[in-house]
Amino acid sequence: MGKIPPSFRSAIATSLVPKPASVPKSDPFPPKKPHGSRKKSTPRSKTQSPQNPTPLPAVRSQKALFDSPSLSDAKALFGSLLASPKSPRLERDFYNSVLQSYSSVSTLQDSFSFLNHMVKTSPSFGPDHSTFHILLTKACSLPDSGDCEVSLAEVHKVLNFMVNNNVIPGKATADVAVRSLVSVDRLDCAVELMKDLSSKGCLPDTYTYNFVVKSLCKGRSVSTAHSFINQMRTEYGFKPDLVTYTILIDNVCNKRNLREATRLLGVLNEEGFKPDCFVYNTIMKGYCSLSRGSEVVEVYNKMKEEGVVPDSITYNTLIFGLSKSGRVKDAKKYLEVMVQEGHLPDAVTYTSLMNGMCREGDVRGALRLLGEMSEDNGCSPNACTYNTLLHGLGKARLLDEGMELYQVMKAGEMKLDTAAYATMVRSLCRSGRVAEAYEIFDYAVESVSLTDVAAYSTLESTLKWLKKAREQGLAA
């Protein structure tokens, strides 16, 4: 066999990486989702109504009415709304929606004045938290001036305004402010604001706190997150909870720092928390990214020992990890366990397993599994599944099957991934089926699976290699 250019080799090495990425990706989210949904339900529910002014159809149609930032126009319009008999003017939602739509087109200052005007003209209207949160969101989404103190001045103005109107800023207020600040990339300001509020006795709730920790992990260094946690603990007695630790562990696992993850697990135990399914899933994912099959199983056994019930994410991660580290037999065994435990295997489960089978060279087995998953279990394969198989078929030089699968993908308008594309092009060229390689190239370009440059470079270097190989009598 001719020597394979190094550029190919890297493609082979990376080939199976996209699938790994896809599985753990589905993993870190589920751990937080249950917390996350709770997170949203509490503080958000108070703000939801002003943010999406949908409560009344009449109001929704009015939203478009505010197209001019001019205050006097808005006042006039408000007057006419009040005069119209259809207006449900006693509802607070109505006033909030009007204010919301006006503030979305005007400045913060004018929104203030407009609110004052509304209060003055309709005495029945008592602004509550959600009303002020509209102004707060507006103040938080102003462009950053670079200096936290300066840019937080507007936020404080709203908060003071609230206090003056006898509405005490609460946990929901803090949450609204922090999330709006983070959403416009003003994380540092959010942290400042949180400390500030805490020092004034308005402690954030755990959802806000964990949201900030998560954002810090994502956008700043780990040490920033830790110093935030420490400061909150020492100065305001705010302790991290299990979700916080899950976030931290997830973060270090993504960076493949399993030693730190283990340390955090120890800290977590010291603090008196019992690791739950999410924590274990996260750690398991960490070992998967390092292809440490036996540690993955160890985590699973530990879970069982501790009486933590594994969920379908656990099994998906387990099967993925075992397939990735070449223990397909064990992976299959756990597929059975998974079904016994009443979890339905999904496309991710099967794709992980097929990936492992393809790596072992059992491509036909993987193809059989494809039939099994869709026919027996009613689980439809996705583009990732097909790409995994196409890659495997290309590698195993099963080109007729490969082309057949490719036609299915083409018919389904699925994108090819880099690995599958490159493998097929190379295998086809090597077997002298250059025209078919060109066809796949065309499809890759047409479906924008790859950039033109990437698709062409692969084709060109393959053909260059082919020429050499032919000269040495090594290829058809």
């Binding site: 550029s7 890297s10 990376t14 990486v17 996209p18 990425a21 880099t418 060229c429 002298g432 089926r433 250059v434 025209a435 078919e436 060109y438 033109d452 440059v453 990437a454 062409y456 470079s457 084709l459 060109e460 053909l463 260059k464 082919l466 020429k467």
Partner: protein, 100 residues
Amino acid sequence: MFPQRIKKGIVDSPKKLANLIDLVNLPSKVREFVGESRISRLGCFMKVWSYIKTNNLQDPSNKNMVNCDEKLKSILLGKPRVELAELPALIKLHFPKDPK
């Protein structure tokens, strides 16, 4: 990890990339075929390949071969038949070699 690799592939060899997508002043023969005075190597390949497809120049009995018409012959060294596999190399001949 995966996207990083791709990025690495392209970022690591800016010369190779430039060689592929930089516009190049064309010699007269190619200029006639392409209809433009400047084109990138990638663009040129795409033009030639789509010319072959639209004019059905692939040999029906062996799709790997191209039966050149007069116009195509003029830019492919005057060969009456070329292999698809040679196409990138033949086109590359019209473009300046990158200094090593």
